[in-house]
Symmetry: C2
Subunit: 308 residues, 2 copies
């Protein structure tokens, strides 16, 4: 058995997904998406040493590449269904592959997502791409471009943990919660599905709240005012960092994979286990203003711009 | 404008595809596949220096990565519809990207395939993955596993050209036809669609006729006898190589991206511009036998095993 036979063995765990007629092992997979739905297709690539430390555990790498795609599916308000994997790696060590596949299947299994195909190739550097497909009721996909002046701006979970966790990953003493927030982000799939047809706009926070909210504002042609005192910060983050640094991580740190969404101010967000925090409102300007201890300043002047 | 803005600019050429509701620019693309169809999903990765020479022209790289995916779609008997791109590259030079995007859009445009999303990342080595989705009438996808004893075995086009072309790519004097057969393979999409619901089994020839036919035989639990004198060889190949080497390339060279398919021996292949050649028949053994100038030997003993 050559090494790529070995790889296939690790990835051949088939769920019983009603949408998969033929999975891994042919020239292509055959899928039967539910009738009357639109499909949502997302893709995300992670490169070792660029998007995660080269020393990160293989099962976390597998988990994370699925989670970041689930997060994109969630931001569109879709239900994730199936995925394909492109894995380029310098060598194929059985224990690494087994752990990678464990993490990948764990994240996918949480939402019933079936791996239906892939391509494994040899390269100098570990590069992992997952392409994921979900479905949504026609017209109900949530776009970045739908925010309206007066909308309330909400975020899920807490912000800034992943950036603090990433910084701790090379430390001897680590906060397990913060590190896991980087290594194993919680994709807000249930929130996204509940917001489908309800939220006016959504984006997932991969590059940091300000950067990603900025994309949403630009796509929608609107501005926003956010209340820095309202940003949800975890106790772990506030124990690990002073308030200034915690806010910098929350505003600009990235890798949180929480959702930022806007909805009419008279609507309530869905009642789910995941915390949701009102952080501001959409305005009819095109600026992003921050209210910090009662004083409103443009974000550029807020002191939280630079990620340190 | 940063370099990844630049990349987005090159990839933002939108076709008017009726299946694409939202293309590039959101967290995900929104697709409207035709009602009542099954979908076929394929993925193929190419790594510079592994799957093609690092010196290969960027437009050929872009063309080829789409063509190899079209070929997988064709082998399943599906009609290609949309694709996503994962592009990892050491640097983002405008002229390289423009040529890459030209080749990619050229191959996709031949079959009306829309690029609906992608992720561009920085890495040490050029790695390109395309994931493509097509559709097919329910139950009509062609599998590797359907070959029946007595079936005729057909191949499209000519075999061995790409291996000869690859060998010539570093030479000063090149046969343009052979080199183009490696750099810009012709995916047999029209043949695949015409074979949907007709052929019993199909596979595309990426690793070489014997290797890929072997996978088809294994999946179907059958054997085959192929007539080496019948293998379709181009005039260019026979001018560039002696007959022995031409046959080695045809049998084991790979990269041809022709289709190998089986159908009932009393059926005729579709009448299309692409040449189709009867090369043998499926048997109820599990061996692959070769008939060479009247003598039948197991492939392993045929002298064409080793790709030189």
């Amino acid at each position: 058995m050559d090494e790529f036979e070995l790889i296939r063995r690790y990835f051949l765990r088939q769920l019983k997904s009603p949408v998969v007629a033929t999975g891994i092992g042919d020239d292509g997979a055959v899928l039967r998406p539910p009738a009357g739905k639109e499909l949502v297709s997302v893709i995300d690539t992670m490169v070792a040493g660029v998007h995660f430390p080269e020393s990160m555990d293989a099962s976390d790498i597998g988990y994370r590449v699925v989670a970041v795609n689930l997060s994109d599916i969630a931001a569109m308000g879709a239900a994730p269904r199936w995925m394909t994997l492109a894995l380029t790696l310098p060598d194929a060590q059985a224990d690494w592959l087994e752990r990678f596949a464990d993490g990948l299947h764990e994240a996918a299994g949480e939402w019933g997502v079936q791996l239906v195909g892939g391509d494994t190739t040899r390269g100098e550097q570990l590069v992992v791409s997952v392409q994921m497909t979900g479905d949504v009721d026609p017209g109900n996909a949530i776009h970045r471009s739908g925010a309206q002046a007066g909308d309330a701006i909400w975020v899920t979970g807490t912000l800034g943990d992943a950036a603090a966790g990433l910084r701790q990953m090379s430390d001897e003493s680590q906060d397990a919660f913060l590190v896991s927030r980087f290594a194993r982000p919680s994709a807000r799939v249930d929130v996204g599905m509940a917001l489908s047809g309800v939220a006016n706009a959504a984006i997932d926070i991969s590059d940091g709240l300000v950067a990603d909210l900025g994309k949403l504002l630009e796509a929608s042609g609107v501005g926003a005012e956010i209340d820095i005192d309202c940003l949800p910060l975890s106790e772990s983050l506030l124990e690990a960092e002073d308030r200034e640094q915690a806010l910098r991580f929350a505003m600009s740190g990235g890798d949180d994979y929480e959702l930022c969404f806007t909805m009419r101010s008279d609507q309530k967000p869905p009642d789910l286990a995941c915390a949701m925090t009102l952080i501001g409102r959409i305005t009819d300007s095109t600026n992003l203003l921050c209210r910090d201890q009662g004083i409103v300043v443009p974000f550029e002047d807020s002191g939280y711009r630079h990620f340190q």
